[in-house]
Amino acid sequence: MIDIHLSKKEVSLYTNIIINSIKTRIDKIKAKGGVVALSGGIDSSLVAVLAKKALGDRVLALIMPEEGVSPDTDTNHAKEIVRRFNIPHREIPINGAIDWFFNIFPEKELSKREVKLALLNVKPKIRMIINYLYANLENRIVIGTTNKTELLLGYGTKYGDLAADIYPIADLYKTQVWQLAEFVGIPTEIVKKKPTAGLWKGQTDEEELGHTYEEIDKILYTLVEMEFSVKEASEYLGMPASVIEDIFKRVKLSEHKRKTPTITRLSRMCLDKDWRYPVERY
């Protein structure tokens, strides 16, 4: 079976394909360019650099930190990326928007855990609004930064960071994202740092998910690409079935995040079931 790690040749070819796909979509729909929300993490850094290679100065990176919560290192890394790769950008802290939202929100029982968690998801949605504001301003598309690992786990906010027009790196596992990032010359300290969704101070993805990305990717690759059952994967990887089951459960529960909203079918031409047209349609 093929290793999850790409060969050098594959890394270069995949990079080419992704650049080509970004450029083609923009050209076809005659958009002015693309917007990328750049946190300074590995995924958005890679997408910003690939978009720059595809579109030149027609890409706009939006750095939208929540000051005091988003790690300074991330914001500094975002600035380092735009400087090093000469990417047009804006910096827009979102603290004001978050405060405003918290103030108008009538449910004041903020001590409740569920309410707090739900409000955490407001932050990526605020960034989404700013993304699309810039997209609408100048006829740009929003270039999403999710990867296959996140998308399979449902580790993203629907209509928040997952809201986009294209997902250029969403067929790459995190492990492969690291490889491409290194290849395009993203500084090692950005590649090597612990990934974080930046939802609260000190948060790291791996702590929240309960496993390292290396482990998760191995499990996902075995379940999805090799099509092993939980039991087979457990034997193959020498890992407890409960761990694999836990990951598999996330995949099953997050199917809705990978689909458009389900339409109740009444006609013979239900738009999400019977009607089949490409997006790039003439």
Partner: protein
């Protein structure tokens, strides 16, 4: 020595964009004419673009009109044309087809035998499968045409070899995924070895709706040498020369085609019937 000069029309087609695809096809025909090639080969479903979904049904007539235009054009040019389009029969069935056009005539049409309906593909939603693998007479000799998946199976190329094909053209629109170009190279080589025939595969290039067609069209001589490979991913017109005598030279001592036994083929049919039970 009898050489066939082939123009490889590795174009980027756009989904349902007949006007744009027509322009690209005509531009490549112009190049091929200047290069004095014998034949210009375009990818699978070049008129409409592979992966067009329900547009196949909407734009059937415009697509057929373009084929008519190419037939008319072929009166005025030397190169013959092999091009993928959507064919329709008198019953109104649609086919993923390829036409051999030359000298003002549609000399032959091959209808894809092995429709793809797995992974991202849903060809059976639109197309009926072809049932025949015929060879057509062209100025350079007997010519077989296959479409993409047809060559993933050993039988269609075999039938063409039995029918005396001197060269096989394969039109494809192969979506990129991991190791795909290597896989193609491997089984195209097998088809060449099996049948001791030159094979010319022309693949689509470019990205459509997130699917990358990897280009990399390949030309093999009858001994299995990869004579020419077009660029990966990019639109490109290139020219390759294939020796059409080589298979006859090789077949003086390589007797496999001749020695294929009737009893074995009969046994193949028996085994197939058993498998279907």
């Amino acid at each position: 020595m009898r050489n066939l000069r082939v123009g490889i029309g590795q174009i980027i087609t756009r989904l349902g964009d007949i006007k744009g695809n027509r322009e690209r096809i005509l531009r490549f025909i112009e190049k091929g004419t200047k290069e004095d090639v014998d034949v210009i080969v375009f990818p699978e479903l070049s008129t409409l673009g592979f992966g067009s979904g329900d547009i196949y049904l909407d734009k059937i007539n415009e697509n057929l009109k373009l084929v008519e235009e190419l037939i008319e054009l072929s009166k005025k040019i030397k190169p013959y044309l092999i091009i993928g389009f959507v064919d329709r029969d008198e019953r109104g069935f649609f086919y993923n087809a390829a036409g051999l056009i030359g000298n003002g005539k549609l000399i032959g049409v091959h209808r894809k035998l092995q429709l793809v309906n797995y992974r991202l593909f849903d060809e059976k939603r639109y197309f009926a499968p072809g049932t025949r693998a015929q060879v057509f007479n062209a100025p350079w000799g007997k010519t077989g045409i296959l479409i993409c998946e047809d060559v993933w199976f050993p039988e269609p190329a075999r039938i063409l070899a039995f029918r005396g094909a001197e060269v096989i053209f394969v039109l494809s629109a192969s979506p990129f995924d991991r190791e795909k170009p290597e896989v193609w190279k491997t089984f195209l080589t097998s088809r060449v070895y099996d049948n001791i025939l030159p094979i010319i595969m022309v693949n689509q290039a470019g990205v459509q709706d997130g699917v990358t067609y990897w280009g990399g069209s390949m030309v093999f001589d009858a001994s299995g040498n990869l004579l020419h490979q077009a660029k990966l991913l990019e639109e490109e017109f290139s020219v390759a020369e294939v020796n059409l005598e080589l298979s006859k030279v090789l077949r003086r001592r390589d007797i496999r085609l001749r020695e294929t036994r009737f009893e074995v083929i009969e046994e193949l049919l028996n085994a197939y019937k058993e498998m279907q039970k």
